[in-house]
């Protein structure tokens, strides 16, 4: 009875026997506290082998540059040729003060805040609703899924050109709107430039998030829908009472991913609004980092902006996980 009640491998539980013989795993030493201590590589050393390349990748491409960037942000630093001997004194918070004292930097954080406020909720709502709808579609299912996914895999550079044609002063959108078109037009309006970019990024990334929700929807038990139907719940009631709670883990993931990728906004303001225009209204922190770090030879100030951005994103991510994540 004990063997059935307790999952195999649980510390303290007896190992199951087959035909009176000890299992192969058990013959090598059953997993458990005692045996794990005897195997420093754990019960699946081959797993370490498979994951090692990615760990090296993460270490070299992410962890080391991140740590180095934090170090740069506290020093007077500029890039030099190998062998060039220069002083890189510790400057405390000077780079952070320089960054935050720059009105363009402060403006860029406000801009990306506006972007996230529009982009993240829109992404969550649209991708959840569209995934739910796509999950029920029978005809043209593949065609529709591919259609939504296509913008995600297409190069931003190519798609941006189409959006410029749509949203420029004499573009299709303004022709349709006629007298209702904003003046100045979308991409050169300090009011509309960032919302237009947010709309573009939402549309472009939607396919990926729909896929996440489609995968999550497969895990929602059919019995819950049947039960809701038996209880007389309509489509909207079922959506809010079954689907939304059922895909909550995916929602947290979408929230985090949309926030992180949104905070790293660069390509769209660089291309769509000609380098963060009009008049800096669509400049993002990463665009300013690019200008300062790579164009203007101030990687220390750029690194400080990056560190501030990472801290802010971590705070937002914590709050999202705290309030939208699983509580049990």
């Amino acid at each position: 009875m004990t063997a059935i009640a307790t999952p195999p491998g649980t510390p303290g539980s007896p190992a199951p026997e087959t035909g009176g013989k000890r299992s192969r795993r058990d013959s090598r030493g059953a997993p458990g506290g005692t045996n794990r201590r005897g195997r420093p590589l754990g019960r699946n050393p081959i797993g370490l082998l498979f994951s090692a390349p990615y760990l090296v990748f993460v270490g070299l491409i992410f962890a080391y540059p991140l740590g180095y960037s934090v170090w740069i942000s506290f020093h007077d630093f500029f890039f030099t040729a190998p062998g060039a001997e220069v002083d890189r004194p510790f400057v405390g918070l000077d780079n952070f003060a320089t960054a935050l004292g720059d009105s363009a930097v402060r403006q860029s954080f406000v801009n990306v805040g506006v972007f996230l406020i529009i982009n993240v909720p829109l992404t969550v709502v649209l991708s959840m609703v569209l995934a739910t709808a796509l999950n029920k579609v029978v005809r043209f299912r593949t065609f529709l899924r591919v259609s939504f996914y296509l913008p995600y895999v297409a190069a931003s550079v190519a798609i941006v050109a189409v959006w410029i044609f749509l949203f420029n002063g004499s573009g299709l959108v303004n022709q349709v709107l006629g007298p209702l078109a904003p003046d100045p037009s979308w991409l050169i309006s300090s009011v509309w430039a960032m919302p237009t970019i947010a709309l573009f990024v939402t549309w472009k990334g939607l396919g990926f998030y729909i896929l996440l929700y489609l995968a999550a929807l497969q895990a929602v038990p059919k019995e819950l829908y049947e039960s809701a139907s038996t209880d007389g719940a309509g489509a909207i009631r079922t959506f809010f009472s079954v689907t939304v709670p059922g895909v909550r883990p995916a929602t947290v993931l979408v929230l985090l991913l949309a926030t992180v990728t949104g905070a790293n906004l660069f390509t769209e303001p660089y291309l769509l609004t000609g380098g963060g225009g009009p008049n800096g209204a669509s400049a993002s922190p990463v665009l300013i980092m690019y200008q300062k770090g790579l164009q203007q030879g101030q990687p220390d100030v750029a690194a400080a902006i990056g560190v501030i951005l990472v801290v802010l994103v971590l705070i937002i991510a914590y709050l999202q996980n705290r309030f939208a994540g699983e509580r049990d």
């Binding site: 540059p65 991140l66 890039f79």
Partner: protein
């Protein structure tokens, strides 16, 4: 959280790789690698130059290649310097970036060569001086310029009822009146459409040519002080502000080539435009000034590209010889012939008289090449230009705030930046 911090971090990572030239690099001889621009005509020039050198120097061969693709050449070069894998020579070095490359330890001081300064000054004459750093050293070889002038579409001028052979474009008032006629007649949505975008270098194609003309070749920063907050600068800024305010120049960036697509009746261009706009019936005039001056007196922006000898080069003696060979009278002649760009060489029109006689379209550029002004030197040039551009976008292009007050404020900021180490 990839892009935010790692854009800088990855480049920092590359600082740990590679290796620079050894201690004997200055006297080193042997094979070298060079990069040249990736436009078709400069590739043709580069290939013939490499072929000509290699034929006579079997022990010191050049391996030439187009500069690797990137957001801009300057970023590619900056990354190559940091990684220690820059080639010996790059024939596409923007003067605005030279100060940074020098600060990075990426460039060789050409003045340190026995005949370095003499060769440069003998070839380029008085124009060479503005390519010195603040200590008077040459970390770049002045190579070629693309002096900018105004191109106009004769057919559109005629359609608007304007005199296409002698257009009234010499003064700001004339230019504005002609622009109004062009737009009001409906022949063009924009009279002229300089890029209204925020990149630092766009200043070189709207404000700077006119300021150079108005001041007889004054740089926007001289002796560590911003110069442009003066009457000439105010007038240039107010001229452009009027162009934007009246809708004679659009605030939206063009998709494609506005001049070729007839979205604009005029353009500010260099000699490269002669071959590019062969389907347009164009004419050219110097950039306007407040009172109107003759073409022979007009200064403009150089839009130069120079050659840098990079410190990662192991065979710097060979590289210096190649540099002199590639800027010799014969190779400069090939450059003019194949690219239509103007070598930064004294007495250009006399030296290549046959070429200019056979190609009169380039004569105005050849003459203009002797009166060009460059961006100010120093490691903070890009930072200065970006600060200027941001203020320009706000007050001139988008009409927010007073133009004069904006120039005054940014002049103070630019002076502070110029005086930083």
């Amino acid at each position: 959280m990839s892009t935010a911090v790692f854009a800088v971090g990855i480049l920092a990572l590359s600082a740990c790789s590679g290796g620079g030239g050894g201690g004997d690099s200055a006297d080193g001889r042997g094979d070298i690698t060079i990069w040249y621009s990736n436009n078709e005509s400069e590739v043709a020039w580069g290939k013939q130059m490499v072929e000509a050198w290699n034929a006579d120097n079997p022990d010191e061969q050049i391996s030439g290649q187009e500069i690797p693709a990137g957001t801009s050449s300057e970023e590619v070069i900056g990354a190559a310097i940091t990684a220690g894998n820059a080639p010996c020579l790059i024939y596409n070095t923007a003067p605005a970036a030279v100060g940074q490359f020098e600060k990075q330890g990426g460039l060789v001081d050409l003045s340190s060569m026995d005949d370095g300064a003499d060769y440069i000054e003998e070839r380029s004459g008085d124009l060479a001086e503005q390519y010195q750093n603040t200590e008077g050293a040459y970390f770049q070889m002045p190579w070629k310029s693309n002096p900018v002038v105004i191109f106009y579409n004769k057919d559109m001028f005629t359609a608007a009822g304007l005199d296409a052979e002698n257009p009234a474009l010499s003064t700001y008032d004339d230019f504005l009146a002609t622009s109004r006629t062009l737009v009001e007649s409906g022949v063009a949505p924009n009279a002229i459409l300089p890029a209204p975008t925020s990149e630092f270098f766009q200043t070189q194609f709207d404000f700077y040519p006119l300021y150079a003309a108005a001041t007889g070749g004054t740089q926007i920063v001289e002796d560590g002080e911003a110069t442009f907050a003066d009457e000439a600068g105010y007038e240039v800024a107010e001229f452009w502000a009027t162009m934007y305010e009246e809708g004679l120049s659009g605030r939206e960036q063009a998709q494609g080539d506005a001049f070729a697509d007839e979205d604009a009746a005029m353009a500010i261009v260099g000699p490269w435009a002669v071959s590019v706009y062969d389907s347009v019936n164009w004419g050219s005039v110097p950039v306007p000034t407040s009172e109107g001056i003759s073409a022979e007196e007009t200064w403009t922006f150089s839009d130069a590209k120079n050659v840098g000898l990079y410190s990662a080069c192991d065979n710097q003696a060979t590289a210096w010889d190649v540099l002199k060979f590639s800027t010799s009278e014969e190779q400069d002649g090939q450059l003019v012939e194949l690219t239509g760009q103007m070598p930064l060489r004294e007495n250009l029109q006399e030296t290549y008289a046959d070429y200019f006689e056979a190609n009169p379209a380039y004569t105005a550029f050849g003459d203009q090449a002797s009166r060009t002004v460059e961006v100010p030197p120093g490691p903070n040039t890009v930072q200065m230009l970006q600060a200027f551009r941001d203020a320009w976008s706000e007050s001139v292009i988008f009409g927010e705030g007073d133009v004069r007050e904006s120039l005054d404020a940014v002049a103070t900021e630019v002076t502070e930046i110029a005086q930083q180490p």
